[in-house]
């Protein structure tokens, strides 16, 4: 298995080398700018000073700032110094000084020590440029030594290309795909299920044993019925296909996933709100018909979860995240002009004095990190995560313990629906916790589910839209699970972090369309040239595009153990039961009164669908709260089966900040030689030993040469790594105890000491 994997990686990296061999090079300059296929240099400026913060000591690096139609890049003059082998976890597409245009969050200019947001046409050009990135990096470029002409060109160029609204067709995605066409080979062995064929859906139905009651339909082939929905999807078997067409796919229960006990997770986009009584009547009878199909045996009782009301609004998510990210967008403080200044007799310790920096809006954090917790809380980002996890647990309880179907209802069924249904599947279906399973899940629920990545990330910079990080919220929820139950997941938090970064790399099609329809219609070349093949867009799941196989080992959790395979006969009999489920109080007496309750509720379902929402009908029910509590407590009181149902802790102290993603660029947050890396390296070492042992055994048994296993050598010598590993490699790990100023000279003469070095102290005597 692992050999196959290694071979696969090898192969993919070969392909990839081909992709990048046709990089154009700008030959005049000493430092080369690496351009991707199809990438064009737009403007540049030389003698730009980039501030580098190194162990609280700040200095500058001269170099060239360039802007292409893909990225903003800084090419330092002494690149070689930084380009040492410490940067092993290198992204092949994005260098450490590269910012893709889509990754730019805010641009500030400093005019006479004052920081201002830059946008539109500028009358005056700043002496310093500060760029906040969506992956929370902060870059500062000093333009004081740059020619005025170049300053104008680069600043206005950057502002224009990162802020002006864009046409979809002008995304770099297409230029890249066009230019790289010849070299791009469709990845044959990426096992991620893309859900773009009927077969994929049938496979998923079979895997979850949902094929008894649900069927994959191709009614939307060619997007005839609806542009929001994928070409293929799954509906309850008795549902007539005309129904799908009736309201362009609205009001149709669409299957997401089936639980081992037969209950299913469904989603439905709400019917358009109508005032006209006549239409309302029609809608009502339509829904009645739908309801009749899904609310009779063999289908389980349906519970509706209306995610559009009483749960979470996109606005809340947006506000919370923008507050939250400010906590981490730490620019370093404005330094005085770059020159060696006088030192006074008072000596400082850099760590402490980090608390006394003049505030530069963002650096207030360091002044106030005594208030860290209340700032964190006031952003309410963690609380939003808690609410999502809680909702997912509630739904899990309904499906697992009460054997009910749950129907998620949302206006377009493409935001919170995606989030909640993915979370539920992640908790209930161990397959989703493998890397392939997780990628397939995202493909199924988010990409094919029609999550508007383009709009939510505002990749096109449309003025009327704002970034709503729903997908990031999902990743953060997943991180909480990964963090609380590390052995249950095949992927690591580093995987999640680089996945979140990939959201802004416009060479992958995965996150750059609003719907599969939009993707498919834009795949053809300009001018509907029917002769040429459709564009071949890369998918983000091809990790070899971004990382070398060696770096990819960091995406794989060494603690993960695959589910032991039962032999086939056994499996049929056992039917994949969860350990926990057996011990849960699955009482008949409890569910019978609910039958009545939910009968009544179907009326409300209809009312809800018709826009007359009755608030808090379900959520405030005490009984349901009690069920939730009981379910939650009883699960947590037992030991965890990592291949069974998995619930997160959601109490106040248990939800954490995703430190790797949010703190990785902050030098002060670096713990040299510390952090989880230290443990991880020890663990990998042990794993390696086991692996080599096993290989030797295999060798003995099969008497053939086993291929060399991939050794995770990135973690060698972890003492030299820091808690921010594998990110923040800019830091050289030499220099933390900075004892600044000349005052020390007086204290002790270093030379003197060096001379005495040859005296050897015998520890034994005395």
């Amino acid at each position: 298995m692992s050999n196959a994997f290694a071979a696969l990686q090898e192969m993919m990296s070969c392909q990839n080398r081909e992709i990048h061999t046709n990089e154009k090079e700008v030959t005049e300059k000493e430092v080369t700018l690496h351009l991707l296929p199809g990438e064009q240099l737009l403007c540049e400026a030389s003698t730009v000073l980039k501030y580098v913060q190194e162990d609280s000591c700040q200095h500058g690096v001269y170099g060239r700032l360039v802007c292409t139609d893909f990225k903003i890049a800084f090419l330092g003059d002494d690149e070689s110094a930084l380009d040492n082998d410490e940067t092993q976890f290198k992204n092949k597409v994005i260098g450490e000084n590269d910012i893709t245009l889509h990754c730019v969050d805010q641009i500030y200019g400093v005019f006479d020590e004052k920081k201002k947001t830059l946008f539109g046409q500028l009358k005056k050009y700043p002496e310093k440029l500060i760029i906040h990135c969506k992956d929370l990096r902060v870059f500062q470029f000093c333009l004081r030594y740059t020619k005025e002409e170049e300053v104008k060109r680069i600043v206005s160029g950057i502002i224009h290309h990162t802020q002006a609204p864009k046409l979809l067709k002008r995304l770099f995605l297409f230029s890249y795909a066009t230019a790289a066409q010849n070299n791009t080979v469709t990845d044959p062995k990426n096992h991620t299920v893309m859900f773009d064929t009927l077969k994929d859906w049938c496979w998923e139905l079979e895997r979850t044993k949902g094929n008894m009651k649900y069927k994959a339909v191709s009614v939307n082939e060619g997007y005839k019925v609806c542009e929001r929905l994928p070409a293929y999807f799954v509906v309850p078997t008795p549902l007539p296909e005309e129904n799908v067409q009736r309201f362009q796919g609205h009001g149709i229960p669409i299957w997401c996933w089936s639980c081992h006990n037969g209950s299913a997770l469904l989603k439905m986009s709400a019917l358009p709100k109508e005032q006209d009584d006549g239409i309302l009547q029609i809608q009502k009878s339509f829904l009645d018909g739908i309801y009749k199909t899904i609310h009779r045996p063999p289908y389980e009782i349906v519970k509706t979860e209306d995610l559009s009301s009483n749960f979470l609004s996109l606005q809340e998510i947006q506000t919370a995240y923008s507050k939250f990210k400010q906590l981490f967008l730490i620019g370093f403080p404005s330094p005085p002009p770059y020159c060696g200044s006088d030192h006074t007799a008072t000596l400082l310790f850099s760590p402490s004095s980090a608390y006394q920096l003049p505030s530069d809006n963002s650096t207030e954090f360091w002044d106030t990190d005594i208030k860290w917790f209340s700032l964190l809380e006031s952003s309410s980002w963690l609380d939003i995560i808690r609410r999502c996890l809680k909702k997912a647990i509630e739904i899990t309880e309904c499906m697992e313990a009460q054997n009910m179907n749950v129907l998620l209802l949302e206006e377009n069924a493409s935001d919170l629906c995606c989030l909640i249904s993915s979370l539920v599947q992640l908790m209930m279906d161990p397959h989703c916790r493998t890397r392939i399973g997780f990628q397939s899940l995202i493909q199924k629920e988010w990409v094919m589910g029609g999550h508007c990545f383009l709009d939510r990330c505002n990749h096109l910079r449309q003025n009327d839209k704002e970034e709503v990080p729903v997908f990031l919220l999902f990743l953060d929820c997943v991180w909480q699970l990964v963090h609380q139950h590390p052995p249950a997941f095949e992927f690591t938090e580093t995987y999640l972090t680089v996945l979140s970064d990939s959201l802004y790399i416009p060479i992958f099609s995965t996150f750059f369309f609003n719907s599969p329809h939009q993707k498919d219609t834009n795949m053809g070349r300009e001018g509907q040239d029917t002769q040429s093949k459709p564009l071949n867009l890369l998918t983000v799941w091809d990790w070899s595009v971004q990382f070398e196989p060696k770096a990819q080992t960091l995406l794989k959790n060494p603690l993960y153990v695959e589910k032991p395979k039962l032999d086939k006969g056994q499996r049929k009999g056992m039917r994949f039961k969860h350990q926990r489920q057996l011990s849960l109080p699955l009482t008949q007496s409890k569910s019978s009164p609910k039958r009545g309750f939910f009968r009544e509720e179907t009326d409300h379902l209809i009312k809800n669908l018709l826009g007359k929402r009755i608030s808090k009908l379900i959520n405030s029910s005490d009984e349901l709260q009690d069920n939730f509590r009981e379910f939650y407590d009883s699960w947590h009181s037992k030991s965890t089966d990592y291949h069974g149902l998995l619930l997160p802790h959601i109490e106040g102290p248990e939800l954490k900040v995703w430190a790797q993603r949010y703190l990785r660029w902050i030098p002060e947050a670096q713990i040299l030689g510390g952090g989880q890396v230290a443990t991880l390296s020890k663990l990998l070492e042990m794993m390696e030993e086991v692996q080599s042992l096993q290989e030797k055994i295999d060798e003995r048994h099969h008497s053939q040469q086993a291929p060399q296993a991939e050794a995770p050598c990135l973690l060698r010598n972890s003492a030299r790594l820091s808690s921010l590993f594998p990110f923040a490699l800019l830091q050289r790990h030499s220099s933390k105890p900075v004892l600044p100023t000349s005052g020390w000279k007086a204290l002790g003469d270093e030379d003197d000491l060096a001379k005495r070095e040859d005296e050897f102290v015998d520890l034994g005597d005395v």
């Binding site: 860290w372 407590d633 037992k638 510390g674 102290v761």
Partner: protein, 709 residues
């Protein structure tokens, strides 16, 4: 020697009456109507312990529920599960023992009502169905009583607990267990932790640190310099005991400057009390004081320990708030939890300690100099900082042995008033400084998981031991009191001479046990958990280039004297406050003007630095902890133990929980290495040693541990 035990079980033989407990007659027979094998219960008593009442009950709150017996004695409340194998490993039970002083709150539940039990009178005709014991160490014990005729017993035991607790507040001093270990051979597994009560201990430790310019002073052998000081301590070679005596008189409570730790690079870390400002030292006294402080170095840095650190009252208040917050029924809503946690300020104090310790370790490691920690009392924060600095700078202090010796030396022997600070005397000066220290150590542990030989469980065990009345380690305020108890002062007249060695203590029958005798309360399996599986001594290569110690300087005025305060060094004109204007100094408690520098100018100086400062290499083995807001976390496994939801799942190292996890992991392991046949074991290492389940468990737990509090 004193550890020389051979037998697997301690003989808790019926001792002769304790001298201190003479009034309390051992009552080994429980009440006649008890239906349990009472002799069995009684045999579990400590010497001098009396069973007051007991009742059968069921331990609740954790799966599975355990049935057993709830016993109240005059020292503790303990729950003994049925089938608890007495003669197994541990004479005492670490998990269900609640010393009476440790009971923070007592509640009884009957039906839907819940009563807090304060006085014996508060329990009128209330038949408790369940009793909740909240420990001041954040533990919680829930015992339910079964119905069916046993109500009177339940009532009785509850009453007994309430009464015993009320009485225990009356400053009842327990003398610790004296167990006979005689006849237990020499099969000791580990070197004993030096108690630093003999001159040899100090001499051995001095040699270990290669502190060549120092010697063991016997000036306090009779505790006549200071009762709070240990009998022995280290002073510079060249200074006579008479000078030491003379100089120490000018420090608060006679706690003059002593060596805490000698850095292999040549620096020395000293600690001392505040200058006794009212005294009027003569010239020679001042010279002696200066010599002691200078310790042969030309550079001297005085560290004002109290500066920027919380006061004792602050620590106490924060701890009380933290405890209130972590109570299982604390009313804080989930979404307000973080600000409530911040409101306790506990983590803020932890941060302050770490920051200061980190700065001081840079001072100690960067140049050869004498760094003096000065705190007025020299018994609280000095110990905390000095221990933390050693943990950060000395890899050997991070081993199990090293850490225990460190605590014994810098806290126990140095006279940290444990009894007072932990509220044992009922005095107002309660402040859990030691627990603050443990929290700091925990932070280090989770920031540097590969650098410590001991685990979180060890810290928890230590945390829980501070109020357990079985050893004297934490039950006395000063080495003098402790010595008085253990009869060590018989050697009053002995004077240390280099060739002299004390008679082996093993000869004496009354061996005082210390908290480091873990097998008293922890089973072997639990003690195994004290080892950190992720510890990797190679991780921080211990490649100290021992810089030669500068030749001992000719006594003379130091060439530079600095005060370290607020993260900055300020030059001082003189070392002692008295010489020039004693009257003025006597008035102000802080004898030096603070540097009046605004934060702006500080920052300006900071940022104009040449980049080559970055070239100074990080000394190997030095840990520099993170202390930013997101890096300081809540020690959940300690403080949240009482919460039901935390008791489950990710919870404390309960035996049952660990067993479950272990068996689960072992199962995983079997799947992991399915085809290793026995003959392969010889090829490399035994796979079971490679992936020892305990190690994996620890690692998993470590990883499950939160990133942010």
């Amino acid at each position: 020697m004193w550890w020389g035990g051979r037998g697997q079980s301690f003989n808790i033989a019926p001792q002769k009456e304790e001298p201190e407990m003479g009034s309390v007659q051992e009552n080994r027979m429980p009440e006649p109507r008890s239906r349990q094998p009472s002799s069995c219960l009684a045999s579990r008593c400590l010497p001098g312990e009396q069973i007051l009442a007991w009742a059968p009950g069921v331990r609740k709150g954790l799966e599975p529920e355990l049935s057993g017996t709830l016993i109240c004695t005059n020292f503790r409340v303990t729950f003994q599960p049925c089938g608890w194998q007495w003669n197994q490993d541990t004479p005492l039970n670490s998990e269900y023992d609640f010393a009476l002083v440790n009971i923070g709150r007592l509640e009884a539940v009957s039906g839907l009502s819940r009563v807090q039990l304060l006085r014996p009178g508060s329990l009128h005709k209330f038949i408790p169905e369940e009793i909740l014991i909240h420990g001041r160490d954040f533990r919680l014990l829930r015992v339910g009583f079964e119905a069916g005729g046993l109500e009177p017993q339940a009532f009785q035991v509850t009453m007994a607990i309430v009464q015993a607790r009320a009485q225990s507040n009356q400053a009842q001093q327990y003398s610790g267990i004296t167990l006979s270990k005689a006849g237990q051979g020499s099969g000791s597994r580990k070197p004993p932790i030096p108690l630093m009560e003999t001159a040899e201990d100090w001499e051995t430790e001095r040699k270990k640190q290669a502190a060549r310019g120092w010697r063991v002073s016997t000036v306090n052998e009779r505790f006549d310099v200071a009762t709070s000081l240990p009998r022995y301590f280290w002073v510079p070679n060249r200074i006579l005991d008479s000078e030491v005596r003379r100089a120490f008189g000018h420090f608060h409570q006679g706690r003059g400057p002593r060596l805490s730790w000698h850095h292999p690079g040549g620096s020395d870390l000293l600690r001392c009390g505040g200058f006794y400002t009212a005294s009027d030292p003569n010239k020679e006294d001042i010279r002696a004081v200066e010599l002691l402080l200078q310790a042969g170095h030309s550079d001297v840095v005085l560290v004002d320990t109290m500066d920027e650190l919380p006061s004792l009252a602050d620590v106490q208040l924060a701890h009380l708030r933290l405890r209130a917050l972590c109570l299982p029924d604390s009313s804080v809503a989930e979404d307000k939890w973080l600000s409530a946690l911040e409101g306790t300020r506990w983590l803020d104090y932890v941060r302050a300690c770490l920051r200061k310790a980190s700065d001081i370790s840079v001072l100690v490691t960067s140049r050869v100099r004498s760094v003096i920690l000065q705190e007025r009392g020299d018994r609280d924060l000095n110990g905390l900082l000095s221990s933390l600095v050693q943990l950060l700078s000395a890899p050997e202090a991070r081993t199990l042995f090293g850490f225990q010796s460190l605590v014994q030396r810098e806290w126990v022997a140095a006279g940290h008033p444990f009894l007072t600070r932990l509220g044992g005397t009922g005095a107002s000066e309660e402040a859990p400084v030691f627990l603050l220290f443990l929290d700091c150590v925990w932070q280090l542990l989770q920031q540097f998981p590969a650098d410590f030989e001991f685990s979180e469980f060890f810290l928890l065990a230590l945390h829980d031991s501070v109020r357990v009345p079985d050893t004297l380690t934490f039950l006395r305020n000063t080495p003098w009191e402790r010595g008085k108890q253990s009869g060590q002062l018989n050697s009053y007249t002995q004077v240390y001479t280099p060739g002299y060695s004390q008679p082996p203590a093993g000869n004496s029958f009354n061996l005082q046990l210390s908290v480091w005798d873990w097998d008293l309360r922890y089973s072997n399996a639990q003690i195994l958990q004290f080892q950190n599986p992720g510890y990797d001594p190679e991780h921080c290569p211990d490649s100290w280039l021992p810089r030669p110690q500068p030749s001992f300087m000719v006594p003379g005025p130091p060439s530079s004297v600095w005060l370290f305060s607020r993260g900055a060094l300020t030059p001082l004109n003189q070392l002692c406050p008295w010489r020039d204007s004693p009257s003025l100094l006597a008035v102000s408690s802080r004898w030096l003007p603070r540097p009046a520098i605004s934060s702006e100018s500080l920052a300006d100086q900071e940022w104009g630095l040449p980049s080559h400062w970055g070239a100074c290499p990080l000394p190997p083995g030095l840990l520099l902890p993170g202390y930013l807001g997101p890096q300081i976390r809540l020690w959940r496994r300690c403080y949240l133990r009482g919460r039901p939801e935390v008791q489950m799942g990710l919870s404390a190292p309960t035996i049952s929980g660990l067993q479950d996890e272990l068996s689960h992991l072992q199962e995983l392991l079997r799947k992991w290495t399915p085809r290793i046949s026995p003959e392969d074991h010889s090829k490399k290492r035994d796979p079971h040693t490679i992936l020892n389940p305990t190690e994996i468990a620890g690692i998993l737990k470590g990883r499950a541990e939160g990133d942010l509090g």
